[in-house]
């Protein structure tokens, strides 16, 4: 495109086209992010909200409370472990099925994709209730098949986490599978033919040709999965009844919600939100670097 006066005209048009988006994003994302940080610096409880008590500036005291509490560290540990299991689960399953999908005729692939799209499209609340029912202590199919009458999967801490993780993997592997499948399909057949002509074995082609070509895409789906699974809310909330007995199934997101809206500790809840945002921004940093390294042109 040309520079000079034309560019100036484009600048004005661009501003006009971008104005609605900018307005919405600044007012409903930018400003709340700023407010999140501000609220996290205050003692902001029910009394302050109703105007019954003056606002006191605490500085970083909310963060001090948080970092000094054993509960926060245990919730953080659970969140990281839970996200790790979900990410590994959906990546392994998604990648394996993507490869499988390239090796079957379209009708079989169609079945798999249809089922995967179904799991992907299922709303989180509906998915959670379905899995709860499948694993219900008394009327669930799983207990009936395993002969575990009356066994509650949601009572034990680890079985509850496992059940939620299984549901999350169920609805998040399709994204990995379909993206990687598209990536494998986009590899020019000439490249694979060349490898075959050079006498490369199937394994050698997979590790030395296909994997390096898919690397950028793999990084993207991995980081995208980390970001999603780190902030799972609905499944944990619905399936463990708001974080499990005595909050032992809390993850950061649910913890923040409970502190803010159940305990009316809006300042503390915001501080948890800030910590979560910082962790995810760090992951995003890796994401951007990975994108740049893979040659993404902005």
């Amino acid at each position: 495109m040309t520079a000079g006066p034309a560019t100036r005209g484009q600048g004005r048009a661009a501003l006009a086209y971008l104005a609605p988006a900018l307005l919405v994003l600044v007012a409903l994302l930018g400003y709340p992010v700023y407010q999140l940080v501000v609220i996290s610096l205050f003692d902001y409880g029910q009394e302050q909200v109703s105007g019954g008590a003056p606002l006191t500036f605490l500085g970083l005291a909310n963060y001090g409370t948080l970092l000094g509490s054993a509960k926060f560290w245990s919730v953080l540990g659970h969140t990281v472990g839970f996200a790790a299991v979900c990410v590994v689960g959906s990546l392994v399953l998604g990648a394996a099925l993507a490869v499988l999908a390239t090796r079957v005729r379209p009708w079989a692939r169609g079945c798999l994709f249809l089922a995967a799209l179904g799991a992907w499209a299922t709303p989180a609340v509906a998915g959670s209730t379905i899995w709860l029912f499948l694993f219900d202590a008394n009327f669930g199919l799983v207990n009936s098949l395993l002969g575990l009458d009356g066994f509650s999967w949601t009572y034990g801490k680890w079985t509850a986490f496992g059940l939620v993780a299984a549901e999350v993997v169920w609805c998040s592997f399709p994204f990995v599978m379909i993206t990687l499948f598209a990536g494998i399909r986009a590899i020019p057949p000439e490249v694979l033919e060349a490898a075959a002509l050079d006498g490369a074995s199937g394994w050698r082609t997979a590790t030395s040709v296909v994997l390096p070509l898919l690397r950028p895409l793999l990084i993207v789906v991995t980081i995208q999965s980390i970001i999603w699974d780190f902030k799972v809310f609905t499944q944990v909330y619905v399936m463990t009844g708001g974080g499990g007995i005595a909050g032992r199934n809390l993850v950061l997101n649910v913890y923040a919600y409970q502190e803010a809206f159940a305990a009316s500790e809006y300042g503390l809840g915001s501080a948890i939100g800030v910590v979560m945002t910082l962790i995810l921004l760090a992951v995003t940093g890796f994401y951007l670097r990975a994108l740049r390294r893979s040659g993404e042109v902005l």
Binding site: A13, L15, Y17, A21, V24, L25, L29, Y31, V33, L36, I39, L97, V99, L100, R103, R105, P106, A108, R109, C111, L114, A115, L117, G118, A119, A121, P123, V125, A126, T129, I130, L134, N138, F139, S144, D149, F175, A182, I184, R185, A196, L197, G199, A200, G202, T205, F233, Y237, V238, A256, A260, Y266, G269, G273, M276, L280, V283, Y287, V297, L298
Partner: protein, 313 residues
């Protein structure tokens, strides 16, 4: 027929992917037979996996149409000889799910219409126009996608509370508040994804339009918009699902106005310790899932190419 769809179709659809193609390089006796057996096994595994993945949905629909006594049986069977709509009737009448269904539809459609309009304009500007700060804006767009919106419940709660003081329809306990936040949440990704669809329209078209004397807005609405429409459909599915599925913000904003609850919220109210009416819960889940499912399957082809496009840039 869009450029992107054509591009997708241009990808050769050889049935063998990695591995098998390489293996075929060396002629070996019986390899055709082996390959056929291998493919048969792969297809069997594929179908079994598809069955397992689809099973929870099958179980949901089945439970919804089972009569009550079969639902609460200790030995559930994967069929029913007495299908009934009792569970749906209970869900719709006792729990008034129809009303919440409608609320969810209103919110999701409003979000789709607004976000597509706003995102299309933004994507066109970011793809077709050169201006200062463009790269910065694109990076910002990526970064805001990473903001965990769930962390913003507290500030957004107070923001909607103050909005409600001057414009009640967009304040707490009203559907407008949900439309506003989901519009904001779905915009970054919608813009990012539409960028790929807009970029797929050849620049020559724009130049030809300019030579023919078309103004920028004529090009935008008469030429670009129809060409990008399939992309808009694919993108809108994601915005729709985002708004339709939301549980957290509905729970945070709609506190005391039961008539303005949305479907996910209403559904969660059903799940009570000890007295779960699983038939009605599964009927409600079915009502919530089916529209999304239909929507999704209809546009899946475009969605896949769109996602691949947005991921790859």
């Amino acid at each position: 027929m869009t450029v992107r769809a054509a591009a997708t179709r241009a990808v050769p659809s050889g049935r063998a992917g990695l591995g098998s193609k390489a293996r075929s390089g060396r002629a070996r006796p019986g390899r055709v037979g082996n390959r056929r057996v291998g493919r048969g096994v792969a297809e069997l595994v594929t179908v079994v996996v598809a069955g397992v993945v689809a099973f929870p949905l099958f179980w949901m629909v089945l439970t919804a149409i089972k009569p009550q006594d079969e639902v609460i049986s200790a030995d559930p069977v994967p069929w029913t000889l007495r299908p009934s709509l009792d569970s749906f009737v209970r869900a719709l009448t006792v729990q008034n799910l129809g009303r919440y269904f409608l609320n969810s539809v209103v919110v999701a459609l409003a979000v789709v219409a607004l976000s597509m309009l706003v995102a299309f304009l933004a994507a066109a500007a970011l793809t077709r126009l050169r201006f200062r700060g463009r790269t910065t804006m694109l990076i910002m767009l990526l970064v805001v996608q990473m903001v965990p919106v769930e962390a913003l419940t507290v500030p957004l709660f107070f923001l909607m509370r103050s909005v409600g003081e001057s414009v009640p329809a967009f304040g707490l306990n009203h559907l407008g508040s949900l439309v506003l936040v989901h519009l904001a949440f779905s915009l970054p990704f919608a813009i990012w994804m539409l960028r790929g669809f807009v970029a797929a329209v050849p620049v020559e078209l724009e130049e030809a339009a300019a030579i023919d004397g078309a103004s920028r807005s004529t090009f935008l609405w008469r030429i670009l918009f129809p060409l990008v429409a399939p992309g808009l459909v694919a993108t809108s599915v994601l915005s729709f699902i985002h708004a339709w599925n939301d549980f957290l913000f509905a729970k945070t904003f709609i506190i005391s106005a039961a008539q303005n609850q949305t479907l996910p919220l209403a559904l969660q109210v059903f799940v009570k310790p000890d007295q779960n009416d699983w038939g009605a819960i599964m009927a409600g889940s079915t009502l919530m899932t089916i529209p999304v499912l239909i929507f999704f399957v209809l546009v899946q082809r475009r969605l896949v190419s769109g996602l691949a496009g947005s991921v790859k840039g």
